[in-house]
């Protein structure tokens, strides 16, 4: 089922199945690939586990770059639900907008959305760094456990609801903070971190324009007096 491409080449999804394309990419241990005519297909370039480079020329459906390890994936277009879900390492970049649950549950690596991200961006994130050039939708960083969500635009309602130890940085406005999410002091190490990750994401922004949000840690244990918080 794996195509004969060896560590480089063009895969045209107009005449190649998703299974064949993914099997080829998953088998490659290095090199650069281009996926042409993605046509909104789902689960493209998912489960990669080697340091290959993949450029997808167009819009993707759900779960593009899902569970990525080590690979550098660029989607030249928009991405559907769950782009880079559960990413472990490597980079997934979307030059357009991303639908719901971008970078959901990611454990590591970098997800860059150059446009806007929809609801639940970074939901349950577990260590991934996510940089969004535009806005993020409601319930972003919901139950976020670890990692960093950096938003250059605005954040929708209930940002960081029930957040654990993840950090959120927003340059624009926040419609409403979620339960147990509070604004925190921006210290020098945070400015340093922002300068670094913005550079890695290829974004231009002044770190001093951002505000930091994180957990108030008031809901880490069951207490009856917290019942009204939910």
């Amino acid at each position: 089922m794996t195509m004969t491409l060896t560590n480089t080449g063009l895969i045209d999804l107009a005449d190649t199945t998703v299974r064949e394309a993914n099997a080829t990419l998953q088998a490659a241990t290095e090199g650069a690939f281009t996926l042409a005519n993605p046509g909104g297909k789902h689960a493209l370039a998912c489960g990669l586990q080697h340091p290959v480079s993949v450029t997808i020329k167009g819009h993707c459906g759900y779960y593009a770059g899902g569970m990525n390890k080590l690979a550098e994936i660029t989607i030249e277009g928009n991405a559907g639900t769950g782009v880079a879900e559960n990413i472990m390492s490597g980079t997934v970049r979307v030059t357009g907008d991303a639908s719901q649950s971008a970078g959901a549950t990611g454990h590591g690596g970098l997800v860059v959305i150059e446009g806007n991200a929809s609801a639940r961006c970074g939901i349950s994130m577990k260590g991934v760094d996510i940089v969004v050039g535009g806005n993020v939708g409601h319930m972003s960083a919901f139950m976020a456990q670890a990692g960093n969500l950096v938003v250059l635009g605005d954040a929708g309602p209930d940002l960081g609801d029930s957040i654990y130890e993840a950090r959120i940085f927003v340059r624009g406005s926040v419609a409403r903070l979620g339960t147990d999410c509070v604004e925190k002091e921006m210290r020098p190490e945070h400015l340093e971190f922002l300068a670094d990750i913005l550079t890695r994401a290829g974004m231009e922004a002044d770190p001093t324009e951002f505000r930091r949000y994180g957990s108030a840690r008031q809901l880490y244990h069951f207490k009856i007096d917290n019942a009204g918080a939910y």
Binding site: H42, C46, Y62
Partner: protein, 446 residues
């Protein structure tokens, strides 16, 4: 016997009557809630009396059909799970599997023992909400890896090590609820596996983070297959609530097998009110689920694995006769390992409970060393000996299952059928869709 309520020469009194509505348990729970301000959290499944497999009986062979010789003629027990789409379906020597239970809720010793017991019986074990440990992979020849809403510990490497993947939509003890693990059990290792602060009260999500309905789930399953190369079966687990529709939608979403967990199915921890008042009994769930598979032409193509209150070979036989392909055990497996053993009675008493009733598994003080992360308590469980006990128990259940199947004239346990059964009560007849014993009446059907 002297009637103490009417002493001779005294004024007659009526015997004190306790309310059936406000019984001793209810009163104690009201007092406990008033004193503590928190709902009751416990482990296990529904404890209330429910229509169950005991309400069904088998019709042994007689004039109209002949039995198989009990100790001579073969009665096959092997089942194959997940051949619909997977290149490598699971082949089990017995249709009794071990249900999902996490490292975290259980000690490492208990997880090892489950693997050892299942291996000896030729069946599978299942991870839980917290990921796969190297130890359980090592000790389980056939390991089912759960994909849960929390995604704690989820990673593609373990996904590819799994022999099957189980997408958990819900469980019988709490359909619509998420996982729970209180701080006493979130030690350093458990916290690291779940990327959580040590010692917090963990409350997992109840909805998956990246799909919201069966149409999305179909795409999610396609992604899982792409990551695992279409090699291993993918199950969908649902808590029993609307089994006809849930099973139909699971088939539509592309499941190779459906795990259906009734309200007697256990949990590591959740609210007692959830366990006892949400979901339906296992007995009531099987026939609608089987009907959904038959209506779609998928019965025996998509396997149905039933769990929730399976205790012995008769329960297994009845589940299979109603149309299941296999069963899962959780609570019973823990009891086989040593849970609630009377030999720890002094310890149970010290905690204000007794052997057989201990269900505060979330507190992590299990004297049997099973539902704990306390190293001293966990060391009480010898995983080799406990694994042997589980293997014995699985073997006995399988023999009991074969005994009943042979008596009904079946050369394979999957040949058991509803026509082999009758019900003892009107309720169980209606739920199971089999006649009330001694009649041809199936309530709701005839």
């Amino acid at each position: 016997m002297t009637d103490q309520s009417n002493p001779p020469g005294g004024t007659p009194r009526t015997t004190p009557v306790k309310s059936a509505t406000f019984d001793d348990y209810t009163l104690s729970e009201i007092r406990r809630a008033a004193a503590t301000g928190i709902y009751d959290i416990r482990g296990g499944g529904a404890k209330r009396a429910l229509p169950h497999f005991d309400d069904l009986l088998f019709l042994g062979a007689s004039m109209s059909r002949y039995p198989l010789e009990g100790y001579r003629e073969k009665c096959e027990t092997e089942v194959v799970i997940g051949a619909r789409h997977a290149a490598k379906p699971l082949v089990l020597k017995t249709p009794i599997t071990i249900a999902g239970m996490s490292f975290g809720s259980l000690s490492a010793q208990a997880k090892e023992a489950l693997g050892r017991g299942a291996n000896a019986a030729g069946t599978s074990t299942t991870t839980g909400d917290g990921g796969m440990t190297p130890e359980e992979r090592e000790h389980s020849n056939k390991l089912v890896y759960q994909l849960l809403p929390s995604r704690y510990g989820m990673n593609p490497d373990d996904l590819r090590k799994a022999d099957a993947i189980e997408v958990v939509v819900g469980q019988g003890a709490k359909p619509g609820g998420g996982g729970m693990l209180l701080g006493q059990k979130i030690n350093e290792r458990v916290a690291a596996m779940r990327t959580l602060p040590e010692g917090i009260d963990q409350r997992s999500a109840c909805r998956h983070p990246d799909w919201t309905g069966p149409d999305d789930l179909e795409i999610k399953i396609a992604e899982l297959r792409e990551i695992t190369g279409w090699q291993v079966p993918i199950y969908i687990k649902v808590g029993a609530s609307r089994p006809y529709y849930d099973v139909a939608l699971a088939v539509k979403a592309g499941a190779d097998a459906v795990v259906l967990d009734g309200m007697q199915g256990g949990t590591a921890a959740t609210q007692n009110v959830f366990i006892e008042h949400v979901g339906i009994p296992t007995l009531a769930a099987i026939r609608p689920a089987v009907q959904a598979l038959k209506d779609l032409g998928m019965h025996r193509t998509v396997q149905l694995i039933v769990s929730g209150g399976i205790r012995n070979g008769a329960d297994v036989a009845k589940a299979l006769a109603l149309g299941a392909d296999a069963v899962s055990i959780g609570t019973a497996a823990l009891v086989a390992l040593g849970d609630n053993d009377p030999k720890w009675e002094d310890d149970y008493r010290a905690m204000g409970t007794t052997a057989g009733a201990y269900d505060d598994w979330h507190e992590g003080n299990d004297p049997a060393g099973i539902t704990t992360q306390n190293p001293a308590l966990a060391s009480r469980l010898d995983p080799v000996a406990a694994g042997r006990r589980l293997a014995n128990y699985l073997g006995v259940m399988t023999l009991e299952l074969q005994t009943i199947a042979r008596a009904c004239g079946k050369s394979h346990v999957l040949n058991l059928e509803p026509e082999d059964l009758v019900a003892l009560t009107v309720e169980s007849a209606a739920m199971a869709g089999v006649p009330l014993a001694g009649t041809s009446w199936i309530p709701g059907q005839s």
